[in-house]
């Protein structure tokens, strides 16, 4: 009994030590940034291990972020763009994953393979075609505006063309990963559940939205988080599409305003980065509880 307990404690200690080590490894960049941002005196931020303890604790750098750049505007832009990206990705993934998982039609396998094959292409190959497409969208939108004699201050070119929220996020809606994830989720749902809904009088769309989707909430939550992180961090494409400073998201704005040859201070960048990351962490904390057990209790 005694040896058993000792072994147990030793085992658990090793287990937790391993987990702590891994946690330290994954969080240390963030902790370093946080500590640098909180240090009123930046002289030690490159020294180990001193850098991990704020030197002359102060919130000065955070205040200065708001003074040196339109942080709130960028935050709002990031929020708008991430929100609609998540909506777009979830809708497209659900609508594409459902038939691939549940309906029988010729070419189904081929379509799925083709979608997965796009994972092998780097996203950069889309930049030029997408740019040209968007430019044309803008041209069409403004000729439509003229043809319908709509007020010229509507500026429809910037609804769908370059320098539009739509343009900055639409190319990200259809993702092979999201479709794959939702297809897997829908495939796991027992056939009996679908049949039960069918007998209960639901048509295919009702089955999808009222049974399949709610049951797949854990997968959708995972997809949401994943998409949020991607959209929040998206840098290259928005920096190409967005020409006006008032529409930049945080990732682009922080980089443009606070780094480069005229960069004022590393601490300032660190403070901006910390504030950029925090909304994602908050969102994650709130969605965490949806990750568990969507199918518990359905069958047997």
């Amino acid at each position: 009994m005694a040896t058993f307990t000792v072994r147990r404690v030793a085992g658990l200690s090793a287990h937790y030590a391993g987990l702590l080590l891994f946690m330290a490894f994954t969080t240390f960049p963030f902790l370093w940034a946080l500590s640098a941002a909180l240090s009123g005196d930046p002289s030690k931020i490159w020294l180990f291990p001193d850098a991990f303890v704020p030197n002359d604790l102060s919130l000065m750098w955070f205040k200065r972020v708001f003074e040196e750049m339109p942080f709130n505007t960028y935050l709002l832009n990031s929020t708008i763009m991430s929100f609609w990206t998540i909506i777009g990705v979830v809708v497209v993934s659900v609508m594409a994953g459902y038939p691939l998982a549940r309906l029988k039609f010729p070419g189904r396998g081929l379509i799925f393979v083709a979608i997965i094959a796009t994972l092998m292409l780097p996203s950069e190959v889309g930049i030029i075609p997408n740019f040209i497409t968007l430019k044309n969208f803008g041209v069409w939108a403004s000729s439509l505006q003229e043809a319908l004699h709509l007020p010229s201050d509507w500026n429809m070119r910037e609804w769908v063309g370059l320098n539009s929220y739509f343009g900055a996020i639409a190319p990200n809606f259809a993702t092979a990963f999201g479709i794959f994830l939702m297809k897997q989720a829908f495939e796991q749902i027992p056939q009996d559940l679908v049949d039960a809904a069918r007998v209960d009088g639901a048509n295919e769309l009702q089955i999808m939205w009222r049974v399949m989707v709610p049951v797949s909430i854990p997968s959708i939550a995972a997809l949401t988080i994943f998409t949020l992180v991607n959209a929040w961090n998206d840098y290259l494409w928005p920096s190409i599409v967005m020409t006006g400073k008032e529409k930049l998201p945080l990732a682009v704005g922080v980089f443009n305003d606070l780094t480069g040859p005229f960069a004022t201070s590393t601490s300032l960048v660190m403070a901006a980065i910390v504030m950029t990351v925090i909304p994602v962490l908050i969102f994650f904390a709130f969605t965490q509880r949806y990750f568990i057990g969507g199918l518990d209790g359905a069958v047997k």
């Binding site: 009996d192 559940l193 049949d195 039960a196 069918r198 007998v199 969507g294 209790g297 359905a298 069958v299």
Partner: protein, 368 residues
Amino acid sequence: MASVTLKSIKKSYTKDVQVIKGVDLEIKDGEFVVFVGPSGCGKSTLLRMIAGLEDITEGTLHIGDVLSNDIHASKRGIAMVFQSYALYPHMSVADNMAFALKLSGTSKEEIAQRVNKAAEILQITHLLERKPKALSGGQRQRVAIGRAIVRNPKVFLFDEPLSNLDASLRLNMRVELSKLHQDLGTTMIYVTHDQVEAMTLADRIVVFNGGIIQQVGSPLDLYENPSNLFVAGFLGSPKMNLLEAQLVGVEQGVAIVRLPKGVTLRAKVDAKRGKVSDKVTLGIRPEHLRLAIGDEAGAVPARVDLIEHLGDHVLAYVEIPGINEILSLKLTGHATDLKYGDAIRVVFPEENCMLFDNEGLVFTRTAG
């Protein structure tokens, strides 16, 4: 409420394999019909075709007077209870039961009223707010049944609804289902491979094998007068004793057969279509065999192989010299002092013996 009429229904999942090979069946309005048969014989497939969950390859299906082959499952007005329960895990018990009514646009008050009434019948009122994952197996089963009854369907379909429950709960639910049918009077079609469920619940039993109906009839009729060897062997526990024999004489209303090694027995059946020296099978239920009293004429000597005491009765497994099959005898009472190796004499009452021809079809019994 509605009748269900199947006319030469066939089903193939793939081109070359036919699962249902032509089923004709008329289920009357308000009847409780049980489909039984061994695993894989196509019971679920047939039920799912009635529900509209599988296409009908050939033949016609009428629910009431309506040709229903091509009506979508959601429009057939039937309710189905699945073996796996198939509750919606994200909805409370009340929402599970209300789902179909909500889809059909029933008013809030009526939904609440019908859900409450069904919950009362099934005694699950205190569970209405829970999610399925917080229920026991038996409770989930009740919810699944509740989900079916709130809809006042024309027909109820049950696919082995009790097979995931333990023995005592199964008995309870069986009694409740029976009551439910008496109260509602709705047509019910029930699939099971538990023959006790079949015997106790059914107005009529349909015995399937290999995608074909073997026999249709009331439970007692099927038990007493099986039309072929399959039905005879399928119903009854322990199984009917079946012995290979040869027809040696056909008299008015009686057939005389000889077992290997020369034992002759008489069976009260009309064997006129058989010929002397035909191969036949003699069948007799375990409860009809009895021990000879004194030195009764016609008794067959045998030896006891195994005795099982079941409280209210005793099962004796005996061997007749020269015959391969072990016979089972069901003896009432528990006072028998039989034990392994005892030499006994067994009586085959001629009015209880059944006879099946070479193809397995029964010779009509003449005993009243």
